[in-house]
């Protein structure tokens, strides 16, 4: 078994448990008496403690124990899960996460912080329970006190009187084993049976342990070691160990403690005492404590954020999806063999079963054709099925926001509700990871700039509690994610003045509302009063836009002054095999995804009109749609210029429609979209490329991209 794999599983499991703990604690705040919930959280912490200990991570294990103590107290009703308790537990969960990050990165966890939090826990437990906490079970590594025995030297003689638990046999315990163990500890001088409890022969139950024993043993071991063999019986049995001779010379460490020169605590502390880099620097006057603290804080949050990056990349897969995929592969294998059989069935003397089945010369093309199309279908299904394995529900990212919103609300003294919808909507795992940071920024933005303070809201007649709504849904070949707030909305004047001030827009420029909202995504725009939130993380609205566009997505803004704003992200689903319409323009071939196509036709000359200031329009059953000439867009030579001699394809994108002009419709087929390669920059109008059956390269069009570029070009032309 691979150590790497075991480690990977361990880290993964810990990550799961930590997420469970955190989400449980957040719910606990509103349901402090939910015993089931407390037990669930307890079990999760318990597992962290056990598993990390078993993996040799005693620091984390020990810390988890402290956290567990608090939960145990909650379980026993020693106190209630009020806000301060949940806060403390969240601190504990955070610390566990930080420690876990450290070890995932193969570094030692930061014990200073852990000890701070441990102290807080200790104080809290003492305060609530009104008594000192029982000594925690420290992992053996922390104990620095040397054990007593100098074997071979001084032996003592003990008398052990053992009256066992009468259920001993029923628990599967055997006294003979105990005697053997004792023999390992020293020299057994004598064993005498004590028959006080044995009843008359007719009353004896053979399964009950009536008998007791007195054992005299010479040993250099101490009392504790002598009790070890009785470990499982000591609680329920009568065991007395009395020393027959007195103590002799003890080791130095023990003596110092016994004589009161140092305390056990002193020794323990001295060992843990180790100056940290930060401390030394502060002492030398090289840095201020403030600065050190601030940087440590950043480091902490950065580490916590990159937690997932340290985990071996793996994914949990819905077993139904896997089974479906396996079925498909099975079908494919069957079709292959049918195919093969078909090929070897037809034809003449060349066919010989003994040579493993040659391919024959004559083949029934119809049958082959049928099989090939079956294969093609299965191939596509397999592709889709495999891609869907990588799909995760967006809820995985959404849920992390509860914590963020809670903290932001607390630090800004606001009351905020986080509403989630559409969490089951699925997206590719890596895409989901990439939108996580931009979403964090959008939510922070909504809270920092969108939502008003409680007083302001009340003054406007809004409820005191502000709300942030995260919504996800799939439409067509994209997933839409919306971040909505019911705050003050965007202020056109403020944005305009800021843009003019920063020189992004010349004064007096007439801009539509939509264009004004898009200004907030310009680099350098940030109305950053809160530089601390943004600095060090490299996220701003412009970065959000860039990240989304890197995914071939788009960001849109809707806002209503005084009512709120919605930021929508459109992320295309990456399915690499699509059905496409192949069109020709001059010598070139292009593919238009079928999902974007509504219809195609050859218009009559009268259907095409030119309107000044608006370009060409095509009349489709009374509706006039804009016509975009692909040969103009791509600057192709020798196209068919007259629409009535060419083909018009009506396409839709984001709820809008328009027409594309191409020369000819060449057909429809399934097409594998391939990336154009890293050497070429991403462009809005091309989604990728593919190779057609005749070996030519065809570019796959992104309709929305074509329209945006056409818009831009029109704007330039008019200017």
């Amino acid at each position: 078994m691979d150590m790497e794999r075991m480690w990977g599983t361990f880290i993964e499991e810990m990550q799961e448990k930590l997420a469970e703990i955190e989400s449980g604690l957040l719910v606990l705040e509103s349901a402090p008496d939910d015993m089931d919930l407390i037990n669930t959280i307890f079990r999760a912490v318990h597992t962290v403690k056990g598993s990390s200990g078993a993996m040799g991570q005693t620091d984390i294990s020990g810390f988890a124990h402290s956290v567990e103590e608090v939960l145990d107290a909650l379980r026993n009703g020693a106190f209630r899960a009020d806000h301060s308790v949940v806060d403390l537990l969240l601190k504990g969960a955070d610390t566990l996460r930080e420690m876990m990050c450290a070890i995932a990165a193969r570094e030692a966890p930061d014990m200073v912080r852990a000890n701070e939090v441990k102290q807080l826990i200790k104080t809290a437990l003492e305060a609530k329970a009104g008594q000192t906490t029982p000594g925690s079970v420290e992992a053996a590594a922390e104990s620095a006190i040397p054990s007593e025995c100098d074997c071979g030297d001084i032996q003592n003689q003990y008398l052990i009187r053992f009256m066992p638990d009468m259920d001993m046999f029923r628990r599967g315990l055997n006294p003979v084993r105990i005697f053997d163990d004792l023999r390992d500890l020293g020299t057994v001088v004598s064993i005498r049976a004590v028959t006080d409890r044995v009843p008359g022969i007719f009353e004896i139950d053979p399964e009950t342990a009536y008998m007791g024993w007195e054992i005299v043993i010479n040993t250099c071991s101490g009392r504790e070691e002598l009790l070890a063999p009785f470990e499982f019986l000591s609680a329920t049995s009568d065991i007395t160990i009395s020393q027959i001779k007195s103590d002799d010379v003890n080791s130095l460490g023990i003596m110092l403690i016994r004589e009161g020169i140092v305390s056990e605590q002193d020794v323990r502390e001295s060992l843990n005492d180790q100056k940290r880099l930060g401390e030394i620097l502060v002492e030398k006057g090289k840095a201020s404590q403030e600065c050190i603290d601030r940087v440590l804080d950043k480091q902490r949050t950065a580490k916590a954020d990159t937690f997932s990056g340290n985990v071996a990349s793996s994914i949990r897969v819905d077993i139904k999806k896997l089974d479906h995929l396996i079925n498909l592969v099975g079908e494919m294998v069957i079709i292959h063999s049918i195919f093969f059989q078909l090929l070897s069935k037809n034809g003449g003397a060349h066919n010989d079963a003994s040579n493993g089945g040659e391919i024959s010369d004559t083949v029934n093309t119809e049958q082959v054709s049928a099989i090939l199309s079956q294969l093609q279908r299965i191939g596509k299904d397999i592709q889709e099925s495999t891609m869907s394995l990588r799909m995760l529900p967006v809820g995985e990212v959404f849920h992390r926001f509860h914590r963020l919103v809670r903290e932001l609300a607390a630090t800004r003294s606001m009351e905020i509700d986080l509403i989630l919808s559409g969490e089951e909507t699925e997206m590719d795992k890596s895409v989901l990871e990439k939108i996580s940071d931009p979403m964090v920024h959008l939510v922070r933005n909504a809270i920092d700039h969108g939502l008003e303070s409680v007083e302001e809201r009340l003054a406007c007649g809004k409820p005191a509690r502000g709300s942030v709504h995260l919504n996800a849904y799939q439409a067509g070949d994209a997933v839409y994610i919306e971040v909505e707030d019911d705050g003050r909305g965007l202020n056109r004047e403020r944005i305009m003045s800021k843009a003019i001030e920063k020189g992004i827009v010349p004064e007096g420029e007439p801009l539509t509302d939509e264009q004004v909202w898009q200004l907030i995504f310009m680099p350098g725009f940030s109305t950053a009063k809160n530089v601390s939130d943004v600095s060090g993380r490299g996220v701003g609205m412009d970065v959000v836009k860039r990240n989304i566009e890197a995914l071939n997505g788009r960001v849109a803004v809707q806002t209503s002054p005084g009512r709120g704003s919605i930021i929508s992200l459109r992320i295309p689903l990456t399915l690499a095999i699509i059905d496409g319409l192949i069109v020709s323009v001059g010598e070139e071939r292009y593919i238009i995804p079928i999902t974007a196509v509504e219809e195609s036709f050859r218009p009559r000359p009268t259907d095409v009109k030119t309107v000044s200031g608006r370009g060409e329009l095509v009349d489709i059953r009374g509706q006039y749609l804009r016509l975009i000439r692909l040969h103009e867009h791509f600057r192709i030579d020798n196209p068919r210029l007259n629409p009535w001699e060419a083909i018009v394809v009506v396409v839709h994108y984001e709820g809008k429609k328009c027409c594309l002009l191409a020369d000819e419709l060449l057909g429809q087929q399934q097409v594998v979209i391939k990336n154009l390669g890293k050497a070429l920059p991403k462009v809005a109008d091309i989604a990728g490329g593919t190779i057609l059956g005749d070996g030519r390269v065809a570019l796959v069009l992104d309709v929305g991209g074509i329209v945006s570029i056409a818009d831009l070009e029109d704007a330039y032309a008019r200017a």
């Binding site: 499991e13 078993a54 638990d165």
Partner: protein, 121 residues
């Protein structure tokens, strides 16, 4: 060695580690994720020892051991509980439920081997 041990724990990490350690030491191992799962598997395997975690969903270690003891042929089979609780009352409870003994978590799986060898040989 031909001895079969059943290990019950809801933590994947623990199961993985312990199964590996036990198999390495020559034992056959049957895994279960909680008490209910264990009880469903026991009738079809003959086990020589049961080791179970205490805190598990659906059915915890105590209940499992109680049920285990009342199953035919397992009245005297060694049955151990893994527990991090060092409290005396938990141990007494375990004893009353019929547990042979306990192993305190966190432990290094090698220590488990020592315990098993004592009770299986």
């Amino acid at each position: 060695m031909g001895k079969t041990i059943m290990f019950v724990d809801d933590s994947t990490t623990m199961r993985q580690l312990v199964v590996f350690t036990l198999k390495d030491a020559g034992y056959s191992v049957v895994e279960a994720v909680n008490g209910k799962d264990a009880l469903s598997k026991i009738p079809s395997v003959k086990i020589d020892m049961l080791i179970t975690d205490l805190n598990m969903p659906e059915m915890d270690g105590m209940q499992l051991i109680k049920a285990f003891r009342s199953m035919g042929g397992y009245r005297f089979t060694p049955a151990f509980i893994l527990t991090t609780e060092n409290h005396a009352d938990k141990k007494a409870e375990a004893s009353k439920a019929g547990a042979t003994g306990w192993m305190v978590k966190p432990f290094v799986p090698q220590n488990l081997i020592g315990l098993i060898q004592k009770f299986l040989n």
